[in-house]
C-alpha cells in the first residue's frame, strides 16, 4: 500500500473552515445560553456575542459563496449515490476489520459520498433553517413594518431556530468524530490544517 500526498484544501478553504468552525461552536455555546440551558456569560452578554458571531458568519459566508462560485468548487457538493452503500458498510463493519477505504480522495472529488450528502444537508437544510429563523429572531422589532406579525410568532421562530441548533450540534459531534477515520486518525485533521491529505 503506497501512501501519497495530495493538496486538497486551499488556503482560503482552510481559513474558511476553521473560522466557521469556531463561530459555529461559539454560537452553539452562546445560543444555548440565550435559550436558557445554562449560565456562562450572562444573558445580555451571550445575546450580543451570539449576534456579533452571526454577523461575522454572514460576512464569512459571503466570501465563501463567492469563492465556491468562482473556483467551481461548489461541484464538490453535488450529491451522488455511487458508493454510498459501500461507505455505510465501511463505517459499520469494514473500519473494524481493517478493510480498505472504499473511497479514494482526489483533488476533484475530495469528499466521500456520505460527506457530500451530509454537507449538502447542512448547506441546504440546517443552514437555511438557522439563517431564516435567526434573521426573524434578529429583526423581531421590525415584524410590524414588514407586515408579518400576523403570520409569525417568536415562539415558533425560536422553535425552529432551536431545532436547527440541535441538528447543528449533532452534526458537529459526528463530524468531529469522523475526522479521525482517515488513513490515520489524524490525517484528515492534518489535511484541514496544512492542506495536504495522505491517501492510500
Amino acid at each position: 500500500m503506497t501512501v501519497e500526498k495530495i493538496y486538497v484544501f486551499k488556503r482560503f478553504e482552510r481559513l474558511w473552515h476553521w473560522s466557521q468552525a469556531t463561530l459555529i461552536i461559539f454560537m452553539l455555546i452562546t445560543g444555548f445560553e440565550v435559550h436558557g440551558s445554562y449560565h456562562l456569560f450572562g444573558f445580555g452578554k451571550a445575546t450580543s456575542l451570539h449576534t456579533i458571531s452571526a454577523w461575522s458568519l454572514i460576512g464569512l459566508w459571503i466570501f465563501a459563496i463567492f469563492w465556491h462560485i468562482t473556483t467551481g468548487e461548489w461541484k464538490q457538493y453535488i450529491p451522488t449515490t455511487d458508493k454510498v452503500v459501500a461507505m455505510m458498510k465501511f463505517y459499520s463493519v469494514g473500519i473494524f476489520t481493517n478493510a480498505p477505504h472504499p473511497f479514494r480522495a482526489t483533488v476533484l472529488k475530495k469528499h466521500n459520498p456520505l460527506q457530500r450528502l451530509a454537507y449538502l444537508g447542512v448547506l441546504l437544510f440546517i443552514g437555511p433553517l438557522l439563517w431564516f429563523s435567526g434573521w426573524f429572531y434578529l429583526f423581531f422589532a421590525d415584524w410590524n413594518s414588514w407586515g408579518v406579525s400576523k403570520y409569525v410568532s417568536l415562539e415558533w421562530v425560536a422553535f425552529f431556530h432551536t431545532a436547527g441548533a440541535f441538528m447543528m450540534l449533532l452534526f458537529v459531534i459526528a463530524h468531529v468524530y469522523l475526522t479521525t477515520t482517515g488513513h490515520t486518525p489524524t490525517s484528515h485533521i492534518k489535511a484541514m490544517i496544512t492542506g495536504w491529505e495522505e491517501v492510500e
Binding site: 440565550v34 435559550h35 436558557g36 440551558s37 450572562g42 444573558f43 445580555g44 445575546t47 450580543s48 449576534t51 463505517y91 473500519i95 473494524f96 476489520t97 481493517n98 423581531f140 422589532a141 410590524n144 410568532s153 417568536l154 415562539e155 425560536a158 422553535f159 432551536t162 431545532a163 441548533a165 440541535f166 450540534l169 449533532l170 459531534i173 459526528a174 468524530y177 479521525t180
Partner: protein, 557 residues
C-alpha cells in the same frame, strides 16, 4: 467626526453641569445657571426649602405689590387680592380636576374623580369633606352643598407660595389655620398660623414642594399612597430621581406635567400608555392635545444609543418605567396594605390605640385598622393599554373574590399594551353584604356618627351612605380589595436600570407576564429540548462506542 462631536458636546454639558452646581452652591441662584444645562422647563425657582434672597427669573416681585401689603384675616381675602390682577385665574382653576374633583372618562363613560371614587385607602370623600378637602384647591368645602362657583374660594397660594409656612390642616374644610393649633390632636405638635401677607408676597411658579403638599401625602400621610411620590422628592439625590436632583436637572413637576391655563396634563384615570399607537411624543409648544407627561415626550420611542440597539427593540412591548424604575419607595417606605376590618380595637380604658412596626411605621390605628409598609419594593408587572375600569359605588361586586377597585385593561395581542410596573395596594374595606356594593363610611367628624368618634360601623356606614344619597341595606361585611397604581415617577439613573437577565431568566421579574415568548425565561418547547438533548447524547455515545470499537479491534490486530 461624530465621536469628536459627541466628546465636545458631553464636555460642554459636563462643564455646564459643574458650573451650574458651583453657582447653585455659591449663590443659591440655581435657576439661571441650571438653565444652561437643562431644558428650558428646568429653569424654575428651586424648591421652597431655601426661601428669601434667591434671585428670581420672574419679572414681578410680588412683595412690592400694594394689593398684597395688607393684613389678611382669611385666605379667601388673599385670593381676592390675587384676582385683582390675575383676572382669569380662578375661572381657569374651576375647570380643572383640582377644583371639581370630578372626571368623566369618555372611554369607559365612568364618572371618576375624588368626589365619586371609593378607594381602599381612606375610602371616600362624601360625608368627610371637612377632613379630605385639606387637599382641595379651595376653601370651605364642608358638605355636598358646596358652591363651586365662588371665585374667592379658589386657593391660589397652596400651589404658588414659597415660604413653606402655609399648611391646610385636615378638618378645616380646606382653610389654613388662622390661629396656632395643636395637630394632630393630642400630639403636642403645634401648627402655626401662617402670616398670610408674607405667604401672598412669596408667590411664584409652582415648586415640587407645592405639588407635594398634597401629592406626596396622598392616602393620609407622607409616602402612603403612590410609592413613587413622597417628600423625598423635595430634594432628591440622583439615585432617587435622575431628573429632579437639585444639582442636576432640578426638574419641577411641571417640567413634565407642562401646565397651560392651569390644566395639568397627565392623569392616572386615563394614562398615556402606548405612545407608538396613536399618541405621538409631545412637542413642547405644539397644541395637539398630546400628553407632555410621558418619557417619550422628550426621549422619543427609540432612546437608546446604537450600540444598545437591542434595547430599542423592546420599546414596543415594554414601558420605559419597567426597566428604569427598578424599584419603588426607594426614598422611604410606602404603605402596601390597609385592613379596615381590624379597626376599632381599644385599650382596656376604652381609648383608641396605635402600634408601630419594627421599622417605626404605623402598623395599627384603632381609627383605621392594620397597615403594612415596605421600601425598595419590586413592582408587579402587567399588560396595560391605558384603559382603566373602576368599581364605583353602584358597581356590583363579587365578595367571594378580591375586588379590583380599578382594573387595568391590557393584553399582549391588542397592539396597544405595554408591560407596565404597578404598585398593587391591598386591603379589606366595608361593603353592603346584601346589595354587594362598596360602602362610604363616615369617618371624620365630631357628630357622634363618625367612626373616629365612636368606632361604630353601623352608625358610620349609615351616615356615610345617607350623605352620599345612596341606598344601604344596613348589613355590612368586609371585602378584600386591591387597587393598582402605575409606577412612573422617581426614574433611576441609567446605571441602575434593570439588566437583561433580571427578566430574561427563570424566576425573573416578568415570570408572571403571560402571552409573550421570552428567551431565557424557560418559555421554550420542552419536547424539543428533551428530543434535542437525547439525540445529542445518543450521537455522542454512538461515536464513543464506535471509536472504542475501532481501538479495540485495531489492538487485537
Amino acid at each position: 467626526m461624530l465621536s469628536k462631536l459627541k466628546i465636545a458636546l458631553s464636555t460642554l454639558v459636563a462643564g455646564a453641569t459643574v458650573a451650574a452646581a458651583l453657582t447653585a452652591y455659591a449663590t443659591t441662584a440655581s435657576a439661571p445657571a441650571a438653565a444652561n444645562a437643562a431644558p428650558p422647563q428646568a429653569a424654575m425657582p428651586a424648591a421652597t426649602a431655601e426661601p428669601a434672597k434667591k434671585e428670581s427669573s420672574s419679572t414681578a416681585d410680588h412683595s412690592k405689590f400694594k394689593a398684597l401689603q395688607v393684613k389678611f384675616k382669611t385666605a379667601p381675602e388673599v385670593t381676592k387680592a390675587c384676582l385683582t390682577c390675575h383676572t382669569e385665574a380662578a375661572k381657569q382653576i374651576q375647570k380643572t380636576k383640582h377644583w371639581t374633583w370630578e372626571f368623566l372618562n369618555t372611554e369607559t363613560n365612568q364618572k371618576l374623580g375624588k368626589k365619586h371614587i371609593i378607594n381602599n385607602f381612606c375610602t371616600a370623600v362624601e360625608s368627610n369633606q371637612k377632613f379630605c378637602t385639606a387637599c382641595h384647591v379651595g376653601y370651605g368645602w364642608e358638605d355636598s352643598k358646596y358652591d363651586f362657583s365662588k371665585q374667592e374660594n379658589v386657593d391660589c397660594v397652596v400651589c404658588h407660595e414659597s415660604t413653606g409656612t402655609y399648611r391646610k390642616v385636615p378638618g378645616l374644610s380646606g382653610h389654613p389655620t388662622y390661629k396656632d393649633m395643636e395637630y394632630p390632636p393630642h400630639s403636642g405638635k403645634i401648627v402655626k398660623a401662617p402670616d398670610l401677607a408674607k405667604v401672598a408676597q412669596s408667590v411664584g411658579k409652582t415648586s415640587r414642594a407645592n405639588c407635594g403638599a398634597c401629592h406626596f401625602n396622598g392616602g393620609g400621610g407622607d409616602a402612603v399612597k403612590h410609592g413613587d411620590l413622597d417628600s423625598t422628592l423635595k430634594d432628591p439625590p440622583k439615585f432617587l430621581d435622575v431628573h429632579m436632583e437639585k444639582k442636576g436637572l432640578n426638574f419641577s413637576c411641571g417640567a413634565c406635567h407642562m401646565t397651560s391655563a392651569h390644566q395639568v396634563p397627565g392623569s392616572r384615570y386615563t394614562p398615556t400608555v402606548d405612545v407608538n399607537q396613536g399618541v405621538p411624543p409631545h412637542m413642547r409648544g405644539k397644541v395637539d392635545g398630546s400628553n407632555p407627561a410621558s418619557c417619550q415626550s422628550c426621549h422619543g420611542s427609540k432612546p437608546h444609543p446604537a450600540k444598545m440597539a437591542k434595547l430599542n427593540e423592546h420599546t414596543d412591548k415594554i414601558a420605559c418605567q419597567t426597566c428604569h424604575i427598578p424599584e419603588f419607595a426607594r426614598g422611604q417606605a410606602t404603605k402596601m396594605s390597609w385592613d379596615w376590618s381590624t379597626a376599632g380595637q381599644l385599650s382596656p380604658e376604652g381609648k383608641p390605640i396605635t402600634k408601630k412596626d419594627s421599622g417605626g411605621h404605623n402598623a395599627y390605628d384603632s381609627k383605621k385598622g392594620d397597615f403594612t409598609w415596605e421600601d425598595h419594593v419590586i413592582p408587579e408587572y402587567i399588560w396595560f393599554n391605558g384603559k382603566v375600569n373602576y368599581t364605583l359605588r353602584e358597581t356590583k361586586l363579587d365578595p367571594t373574590h378580591v375586588v379590583k377597585i380599578n382594573s387595568f385593561e391590557g393584553s399582549p395581542t391588542d397592539g396597544k399594551s405595554l408591560i407596565w410596573p404597578v404598585k398593587v395596594f391591598r386591603g379589606q374595606q366595608p361593603y353592603d353584604s346584601v346589595s354587594n356594593t362598596l360602602l362610604v363610611p363616615h369617618t371624620f367628624g365630631a357628630d357622634g356618627d363618625s367612626y373616629w368618634s365612636n368606632f361604630n360601623w353601623d352608625k358610620s356606614l349609615a351616615a356615610g351612605m345617607k350623605a352620599a344619597n345612596a341606598p344601604y341595606s344596613g348589613q355590612y361585611g368586609f371585602v378584600k380589595t386591591e387597587m393598582s397604581w402605575p409606577i412612573t415617577h422617581m426614574v433611576a439613573p441609567k446605571a441602575d436600570a434593570l439588566t437583561c437577565a433580571q427578566c430574561h431568566s427563570k424566576d425573573g421579574r416578568l415570570k408572571n407576564v403571560q402571552g409573550i415568548y421570552m428567551p431565557g425565561r424557560g418559555d421554550q418547547n420542552k419536547w424539543l429540548d428533551y428530543a434535542g438533548w437525547t439525540f445529542a447524547l445518543l450521537t455522542l455515545i454512538g461515536v464513543i462506542v464506535h471509536g472504542a470499537g475501532r481501538i479495540y479491534t485495531h489492538r487485537k490486530g
